[in-house]
Symmetry: C2
């Protein structure tokens, strides 16, 4: 059993590769819910939806979020009528938000809602939220705290970041299905190339997951979200600069070591960052240098197979 920890776009790209490389019973994808928020009365779970749409092959490759072939009649009308239009909601995407909101309102757990929606999308692999209960990523800035989507979408990541906190994380309750996975045999955990601060940190901060990882008997391998000093997508590099560190995979490796309970054993880094392999190895990690840019589903699957081979190799040593 492989457990993948994933945020949004980067996480979804490796997750779909892992799904193409592994049968359903051998993969569980645990997704960040720290970005979730309530907006216009909907419960929006951006990372869960991005991963679900990507696994279903229905993601929008141009936008990097939302549905393929989406239309925007609702949104355009909302804007015309003076409604809040800073968060884009496609006509088809909205169906997911309505169904989720209604199910949650009726007391259905988020993991069940996620499972049922994913099944409707033909997703065969286990997709689960990191928590049944709300955890909300708060971005600390010089001018105060911001809700994540306020920072990320409305303010387009402009405010200077000073830190993060995950409201509700101490009381976070992992889904029963995830608890079962954690109690069973796990061959490896793969940390997908997602933002370390706002995608991976919330997941590994959930107490049950944190304890499980701290007492692990399996390797944890992380795929770098930074290639050649830049994030493939999103504000990771900008956040690192604002936090006073160079945006490199070496600094991310140090961050996971210092701030996340030394949660990563092995690193998969891009060829462009080959010169940093030695420094990461000196932190006590094994490093695989390879092409990590996932520009197609085929490349995602190829990277997933290399990551799994790398972990397999370690397990046999």
């Amino acid at each position: 059993m492989i457990v993948a920890l994933a945020g949004g776009v980067g996480g979804a790209r490796l997750a779909v590769g892992l799904a193409d490389a592994l049968p359903p019973r051998e993969l569980a994808i645990v997704v960040n819910t720290g970005d979730d928020f309530d907006h216009l009365g909907f419960r929006i779970c951006p990372d869960l939806d991005t991963v679900m749409y990507t696994l279903a092959g229905e993601n929008n490759p141009v936008l990097g979020w939302g549905r393929a072939g989406e239309t925007w009649h609702f949104m355009n009308e909302l804007k015309r009528l003076g409604g809040e239009d800073w968060f884009q909601l496609g006509d088809r995407d909205l169906a997911v938000h309505v169904l989720r909101r209604e199910a949650l309102r009726c007391g259905v757990l988020l993991s069940r809602v996620t499972h049922d929606l994913a099944a409707r999308f033909g997703v065969k692999h286990a997709l689960m939220p990191m928590s049944e209960t709300p955890v909300r990523t708060i971005v600390k800035t010089k001018s105060g705290e911001l809700d994540f989507q306020d920072y990320f979408v409305r303010l387009r990541c402009k405010p200077r970041v000073t830190g993060f906190r995950f409201a509700g994380v101490r009381a976070a309750r992992v889904p029963d299905a995830l608890a079962r996975v954690m109690r069973g045999r796990v061959d490896a955990v793969v940390i997908c190339p997602s933002n370390p601060f706002v995608s991976v940190a919330p997941i590994v901060s959930v107490p049950a997951i944190k304890r499980w990882l701290a007492s692990r008997t399996f390797p944890v391998v992380a795929v770098s979200p930074i290639i050649g000093g830049a994030a493939v997508k999103g504000p990771a590099a900008k956040m690192m600069r604002e936090l006073g560190v160079k945006p490199t995979v070496l600094e991310i490796a140090r961050h996971y070591e210092r701030n996340c309970g030394n949660v990563v054993d092995h690193w998969v880094i891009d060829k462009q960052d080959a010169k940093l392999a030695g420094a990461i190895e000196r932190l006590g990690k094994r490093v695989l240098v390879t092409d990590t840019m996932m520009t197609s589903r085929r490349k995602s699957a190829a990277l997933a197979r290399r990551v799994l081979g790398f972990v397999q190799e370690r397990n046999n040593v």
Copy 2:
């Protein structure tokens, strides 16, 4: 000041004619909210929306409800994902439901929400719900009570009707704007050609409106929703047959006399029903026989002018 009482399609057709015939300060349109319901987390006000869309010239003339040029991507996706699809919600229509739900959730009164939405649609005339508080039309049938939309849309008016009740009507609170209109000078009330049982009855059952009409010093003129033994649209004729009366304007006149506090003074009936004029006059009413079929906005305005002329004539007698 003319006050129009309106339900859905028929009401909207005469309302838009009255709006074309009268300046904004001389017309208030009071709309049935007994059909309102909560569905998929939205507060849906079918009659308010039909009248608003019609006044704005944005109604769908083919469907008879909803928006012109509507698309159904949300609905098709909801259906594909196994959601409830018996009540059609267009992509643009949804924007209204989202804005209304959010405003109501924030404590904004329905009359204010209605006013603000109508203003966004460019509606100049006063459009107001009959009640700020929920009133819900319940359809009594042989096999029990049904929520109105369950009866009307989901079951397509198939169950045999035995009666109606308006849950919440005793506690109904009229909007302040309507209370002001009722306290001021009113020249006439026009009952639009809407279903007498489920569109007009809820309005005239609101205690404040009932008292105001009972002590009226102005004439009330009703335009028949039945032409030649059939309802122009909707289940009025079917309901009448099930309640054991012939579907004629004469029976509607008797119904208003017996069951609605003799609320109508003058009747406007269609030429096809000219032979019933005498019987209605024998109930003590004056009758205008004219072409009441509103197949275009021009015909709506023409009928509105004839109705107003007829009332004017009465006032001068």
